[in-house]
Symmetry: C2
Subunit: 341 residues, 2 copies
């Protein structure tokens, strides 16, 4: 089985964006704020948006199952207050849940959180609990910078975040560390902010002893770990100077990288440098880079082709495609096993 652990609902019916635009307009002009119940998207519309897009591509590429979460760039936690984020997260999570019910063999949900700048992350627990307990979510996306590029939250190692971690440990779910749209003109969202956040999050873990406090906490760093594998020697050297343990002992029981790296040399480096047990297959299609690579004639985000061509053996490939995901996402494994998969 091939499990893509990083898919977002980037192809939702237009009605979702229209509703969100009304919600955003309502921040300045409360009379315009729509009710959640005013958003109506039928099962047929959901089906069509998936069958023509993600499911079509999954079939073309031979991917079996996607861990599916709300569109990352639309989370936009910097917009409005906690109430705005709360209503918006509930709507987006419900859509991913419905898709997982419409296509139970192909999609399993992961939740966005109703984060808001300066607000205690503990406020996210009710939505998180609902998504896990009622909607069968197997993971969350945690935004280390809900400000959208101003980076004024404490580092991930700070106790600020511990209420989330305590709940993650209780449920035995991992978090993908994933920022949203940058509202800082210095940072292009998908070309700079996403990759910077990956590198930043990894370094926040490295400089801390977070995983001593939470030995079973698991973070997935997306986009191939930002700059981290390319600079693995730098990070090993920095850890050594800080008298930290070897990275494999210090971080690699808790930190994992996905394969959203959109060319063969990048995947070759990732599989050469990072232990195979820490690499999880992912494509983030249909996402930031949707075009055809003129150098290969295939989609930039068709990461399965790169994994197929990587210098790894079938057992290692099986770990990347399936076994690691079942280990890092135990609720995914349990759900699959309950179905005899």
């Amino acid at each position: 089985m091939i499990i893509d652990i990083h898919g977002h609902y980037t192809t939702a019916p237009k009605a979702l964006e229209t509703w969100r635009n009304r919600q955003v307009a309502g921040i300045a002009n409360p009379a315009e704020t729509p009710k959640a119940s005013e958003l109506r998207i039928s099962d047929d519309e959901l089906r069509e948006s998936i069958e023509a897009n993600q499911l079509r591509v999954m079939r073309e590429r031979g991917l079996d199952l996607t861990i599916f979460s709300p569109r990352a760039s639309f989370m936009a936690h910097h917009i409005g207050d906690f109430q705005v984020s709360s209503t918006w997260a509930a709507i987006c999570n419900e859509l991913c849940y419905r898709i997982s019910r419409l296509f139970p063999d192909h999609f399993i949900p992961a939740a966005m959180l109703p984060q808001s700048p300066g607000v205690d992350p503990a406020t996210c627990i009710p939505e998180l609990a609902k998504c896990v307990e009622e909607f069968g979510n197997v993971a969350i996306n945690l935004n280390p910078d809900p400000s959208g590029g101003h980076w004024n939250s404490p580092p991930l190692s700070d106790r600020h975040w511990y209420p989330i971690y305590e709940k993650m440990v209780e449920y035995d779910i991992p978090a993908m560390i994933h920022v949203s749209t940058s509202c800082n003109p210095s940072f292009h969202t998908t070309g700079a902010h996403y990759l910077n956040a990956d590198t930043t999050a990894f370094m926040q873990c490295l400089t801390s002893d977070l995983f001593k406090d939470f030995p079973t906490l698991r973070f997935v760093i997306p986009h191939g770990g930002g700059a981290v594998p390319y600079h693995w020697g730098r990070f090993r050297g920095l850890a050594q100077e800080m008298k930290k343990p070897l990275l494999k002992d210090h971080l690699l029981n808790n930190v994992f990288f996905d394969t959203c790296v959109y060319h063969q040399p990048g995947i070759d480096l990732l599989t050469r440098v990072i232990p195979v047990d820490n690499i999880l297959f992912a494509s983030e299609m249909i996402g930031a880079v949707r075009g055809i690579d003129p150098e290969t004639g295939h989609g930039f985000d068709d990461t399965k082709r790169y994994i197929e061509a990587a210098h790894i053996d079938p057992q290692q490939r099986h770990k990347i495609y399936e076994a690691n995901a079942r280990r890092v996402y135990p609720r995914l494994d349990a759900t699959l096993k309950a179905k005899g998969r």
Copy 2:
């Protein structure tokens, strides 16, 4: 000849730091502000600080010449106002100049600028002009985020920066895009902020048409280009979606990467992905990562070993070691030629 284009004066006599601490204390308490003339470092002290450190390592590794600039993390443009930065930059640049006079065969200076948050970059021109015209500097270090991790300056493509670019073009000097210490607790200075800045700067160039306005402007992105070569497919794909030219036409006449990547797989990726004409040898020793790699028994920052082992031919290696530096830094080439080198 082997030219290291990225060296900082990280080993200055203690008196420099003491003077700086007094200067910083003087911001709150002006009576404590020292005069520049109160800093006294003899030629012997300078010689000793270099012979025992950078020059010793250069000899051990077989490096001939280093482009030498003030310590990057000490630039700290976020401290104080323009006057503070101006005095500090003048002091630091003069020290690098003196070292280039004491060791003319081994060091040639590059200048830091007296940048200050919110201050017009045009204010840096007098220091820049002095360093080029009187001190023989062959390049500058340009900080895209003088705030130290708050990223509230306009992107490098903004006209805000054009006065610097006009002077660079006039003098035909490149800029290394190099941030300084992070005062944002989210960002570790050398493990996150430096690499993020490299990626951010590249993306600011990619999304703009800066090099249409300045066809001969040249930027060196240090630390192997941050996350860029590892994600080269992503950047090619993003450029394609934005209807930009191919990256080689859009950016690679103007953007260059150094080899400060501290393990063999990273250098192998860099030399596989980035055209050899755009790669400049550098080590940034004695810098962020000073230890011995237990996996190799050699210094993490001994990047010459990685270049020696890379799958490139002698002509390509010559370009990385010398020819590209002479092309990208014409004033370096002229200085060397004047000495018959």
